[in-house]
């Protein structure tokens, strides 16, 4: 079973991102579970969403405490130390960050595989959201597909079309662009 935690700010689409991963993985034939951090969400405040993927039906119905991977939609959560994003993260896990910087800038986070992609830039180039609030959740999932190999870009595209009501084509194009733009720095000894 793979457990993923997604960090973002209220309004950035962390919950939708968890749903899209679930939809895409479902199309890969996996059993899926996706849920938000339960509670009342406020725009701008740090939020989290979770995904479980497995070949067997997912029985565990608790929150996720020791994820296998992280997706960080907003680098400021790390840079401004707003959230301890690596809390409970398994050694050797991967972290995918939306940032203009390269992965080497984030090695201080620990013994993890770091991947980065400038999803905000890609989103804006595809006219998704505004300069102050780019909608990055679809583009970063392209990078997620490349990084983890868990979902194909075709299934990601279908999942986006099924989940995102507005501009599905632009969202899919952004995801494909991000899939090619991701830069990965493997943790020592992980082979990636």
């Amino acid at each position: 079973m793979i457990e993923i935690r997604i960090h973002g700010r209220g309004g950035q689409g962390a919950v939708i991102a968890s749903q899209i991963i679930a939809e895409a993985a479902f199309r890969e034939g996996l059993h899926v579970q996706a849920f938000p951090s339960f509670g009342s969400e406020r725009r701008g405040a740090p939020v989290a969403a979770f995904v479980r993927l497995d070949h067997e039906p997912v029985l565990v119905r608790t929150e996720i405490y020791e994820p296998d991977g992280l997706i960080v939609l907003d680098q400021s959560l790390i840079l401004q130390k707003l959230v301890d994003v690596t809390q409970g993260l398994k050694d050797g896990a991967w972290i995918l960050i939306n940032t203009p910087h390269g992965p080497e800038e984030f090695t201080h986070l620990g013994p993890y595989t770091i991947a980065t992609v400038d999803a905000s830039r890609i989103a804006l180039e595809h006219r998704l959201g505004s300069l102050t609030a780019p909608i990055v959740n679809t583009s970063i999932l392209g990078a997620f597909a490349t990084l983890t190999g868990l979902i194909s870009l075709d299934n990601l595209g279908e999942a986006i079309a099924a989940t995102v009501p507005i501009k599905p084509e632009a969202n899919i194009a952004a995801a494909r662009e991000a899939a090619a733009a991701v830069k990965t720095l493997a943790a020592a000894g992980t082979g990636r």
Partner: protein, 397 residues
């Protein structure tokens, strides 16, 4: 058709398949997306029903009662404070023997204000005459709503289908949603034997004197007893149609289990992971999941739990001043066992107000009982210790 939907979406799809004629509901977190989903389906013509917008939950159920009295299949959904506000007409619906189906999203009662899961809201309606089914997955939600209509309409009792807030209501998962044709074959249109009929005027709900009231109550109680068999039969029939059979309770690795966890809802799903781990470690652990809580399958549970060594009953609820409610019910069901067959029973109250009950929590309470570290009849799990319990300071401070 398989699809990724959340628990609340599962309710909406099941309601669509059950073809109700009247839906009357009022929004409340975390139930709201159920009726939003249904309202959209009605608006899009996917459900051929009248959707009545009301100003309160009391009116929502009153609307269902009126429509059902005229012979219409109805649905409503609510949660916590909304369910409590319905209370007066909840009794009415059962007493009038109307097979209404209601989805309740388990949410803690205020204060303190909480939107997270807790079973006290639905268990507070235990004695109203409604049937109650606790679900562990979105799949079971779909299946149970459809079964609930069939059982309810067979025995003329209303059913509450219950799902945990967020852990189920807001969690997306892959679910098999049956085809309409399959459900139509399983669930015939409602034909109430006794309903409002303009050609044959009658008074409904009229005054009943002491010389007759008890007979009506006796019939209600008998209907509950009949319902035990009907739930069993309908769960099996559904299994033949879909490959997903259901019983009054669910047993997991119970054959030779000496340590048994009894619980309901999503926690029971998580518990299976713990049971598997304990088995791997050589502990003969098993799970008894409560599903149909009213009518209460006391005889079945007594048979299942006879001769077990230790039983841990996990309640996500509390009857203040006494035990957890499942705990009380299990103990009372087992009273008739001879002393030699009585297991040692421990109640655990955990997860109130949405506090997570993790794999580690479940392992802790099971092993605590198994290894004799937990000896008290009732343990509040993972809660701040009370230093002044004996002086009363804790209660008054």
């Amino acid at each position: 058709m398989r699809m990724v939907i959340k628990g609340n979406g599962a309710v909406a799809h099941a309601v669509r398949l059950a073809r109700p004629q009247v839906i009357s509901a009022y929004p409340i977190t975390p139930q709201t997306s159920i009726i939003e989903g249904i309202a959209s389906m009605v608006a899009e013509g996917k459900i051929d029903a009248r959707f009545i917008k009301v100003e309160s939950e009391h009116s929502a159920l009153a609307g269902c009662i009126a429509a059902e009295s005229a012979g219409a299949r109805t649905f409503t959904a609510t949660s916590a404070q909304g369910l409590a506000l319905m209370h007066e007409v909840i009794h009415w619906a059962a007493g009038a023997r109307l097979p209404i189906v209601l989805a309740n999203v388990n949410r803690a009662m205020a204060p303190g204000w909480s939107i997270w899961t807790d079973q006290t809201d639905s268990l507070s309606q235990r004695d109203t005459g409604w049937m109650q089914v606790y679900c562990q997955s979105a799949q079971e939600v779909v299946d149970s709503v459809i079964q609930a209509y069939k059982v309810s309409e067979r025995v003329l009792l209303p059913t509450m289908v219950i799902l945990d807030a967020f852990f189920l209501s807001h969690t997306y998962e892959d679910v098999e949603v049956p085809e309409p044709g399959l459900v139509d074959g399983f669930l015939p249109p409602l034909d109430l034997p006794q309903k409002m009929d303009l050609e044959h005027p009658a008074a409904l709900g009229n005054l009943v004197f002491p010389d007759r009231y008890m007979e009506f109550r006796r019939k209600m109680d008998l209907a509950h007893q009949v319902a035990l068999g009907v739930w069993d039969e309908v769960g099996r029939e559904w299994g033949e149609l879909t490959g997903r059979p259901y019983g009054l309770v669910e047993q997991y690795r119970m054959d030779d289990a000496e340590l048994v966890l009894v619980t309901a809802a999503t926690t029971a799903s998580t518990a299976r992971v713990v049971i598997d781990a304990l088995r791997d470690e050589g502990v003969a652990a098993g799970l008894l999941r409560l599903r149909v809580f009213r009518p209460f399958p006391a005889d079945l549970i007594r048979t299942i739990l006879a001769d077990r060594k230790k039983v841990v009953i996990l309640d996500r609820n509390c009857s203040f001043g006494h035990h957890g409610i499942f705990h009380q019910e299990i103990k009372s069901a087992l009273y008739e066992l001879p002393a030699g067959q009585q297991p040692e029973m421990h109640g655990v109250i955990a997860g109130l107000g949405g506090r997570d009950v993790t794999v580690e929590d479940l392992r802790g309470m099971l092993m605590g009982v198994w290894e004799g570290r937990i000896t008290k009849p009732v343990t509040w799990w993972n809660v701040l210790e009370a230093k002044g319990a004996e002086t009363g300071a804790v209660a008054m401070g």
